[in-house]
Symmetry: C2
Subunit: 212 residues, 2 copies
DNA sequence: ACCGTCCTTCTACAGGTGTAGAAGGCCATA
DNA sequence: TATGGCCTTCTACACCTGTAGAAGGACGGT
């Protein structure tokens, strides 16, 4: 039932990808990781390319699910809602990012590996669905905020938020960021994201209550 | 002379890394790319790990050189200079980024590949020198600007700028960004970066001349 | 009970890859 | 001219990987 062979194998492949990198992603490694007999992955995904494409599809699905789940609370137009409380919106995004770099770390690492791979393998660009969804969301939000050029600002915003994610995912060096999975991390991210939202939404409409 | 074997090989390795990815980085591939007889790379870098470490060192050197070159014009404290003309600073950073995603695209792709690799190979973290340099620069700049928490804001700023770079480097999907290597790209980047600088430097000290 | 179909597992094999060491050649010093 | 140390090139080989196909077994329809 839940042990649908395809899902088990692609999930194992994602783990392998995160732990061993693109180089370690082999049919046999996935077999081992999934605890299934050698040859299984090879039987389900005859070529390596097929395996990678399956991984990409799975990643896109999982990410889109996460993204969609963020909207339900407010039934109406999420864009206008988001604007009325920037700090709450920022906190929501921060929570998602924090999850992606702690609980879902493997998945995120695998996604970046695939993004890099898509550079020389253009047919993998399916992943960009993920980017497209958040991009559309951002553009709509900033448009509602009255930004001068919502498409441009939205793209910039998404790129910056992705930068925050990647930076902490890699997590090297002397930086102020707290470890992923902690409330401190979510708070720190929320500060950065709120700043970004205010900056890119129009040109800070009426300042951020610094003076009363 | 200029054909120092080590440099030739590591540069070839960077090209291979950018074009074929981590998986394609083999001794023989580097030989072929460098136009040298098979076995050469293997003789200079007996193990694959040694080869990767050499690549990482080279990347760090090249990046640091680029970063340092950006400072010379103003002899004095670059931090305060940067603040007096945010747009000029943003344009400078934009030019560097544009270069990294067009002329130096291979190098940048290789760097991201190595960053991902460093996730499961901690001794590769030497690359973080690059991050550290720009981080220190950003912190100093924001501190001079009177930011409340320059260390934090500096880290956020660097992460966001890196996000802009990565986003365009991957360059997939429907986005507003012009192609790398064009003046339009530099202009677009400059807009984003100026917004970031103003947002993270204190909390936009006196707005950005929107009202005369 | 028989058959065909599917899913699973095993085995084979042609390349490719990492690594070590041998063979060959260049040049300065004695 | 010999000697020794180098840098370079070649070759060997054990191992890993991708991919294909054969063998085995479960099971529903007749």
């Amino acid at each position: 039932m839940t042990t649908d062979r395809f899902a088990v194998l692609t999930d194992a492949a994602i783990d392998v990808l995160a732990e061993l990198g693109m180089r370690g992603l082999t049919h046999r490694a996935v077999d081992a990781r999934a605890g299934l007999p050698q040859g299984t992955t090879s039987a389900y995904f005859r070529t390596r390319k097929a395996l990678i494409e399956a991984v990409v599809r799975r990643l896109a699905d999982l990410d889109r699910a996460d993204l969609d789940a963020r909207e339900l609370p407010a039934g109406a137009d999420s864009a206008t809602v988001a604007l009325t409380d920037i700090d709450r919106t920022a906190a929501g995004i921060a929570a998602l990012l924090d999850q992606w770099m702690s609980t879902a770390r493997h998945r995120t690492l695998a996604r970046y590996a695939c993004l890099l791979e898509a550079t020389h393998h253009p047919e993998l660009r399916t992943i960009l669905e993920y980017g497209d969804a958040s991009r559309a969301q951002s553009r709509a939000m900033l448009a509602a905020a009255g930004a001068r050029n919502p498409a441009q600002a939205g793209d910039h915003l998404v790129a910056c938020i992705d930068g925050l994610l990647f930076d902490r995912l890699i997590g090297a060096g002397a930086r102020t960021a707290p470890p992923p999975g902690t409330a401190a991390n979510r708070a720190d991210l929320a500060i950065a994201i709120a700043t970004l939202l205010r900056a890119f939404a129009g040109q800070h409409p009426e300042a951020q209550r610094s003076g009363a």
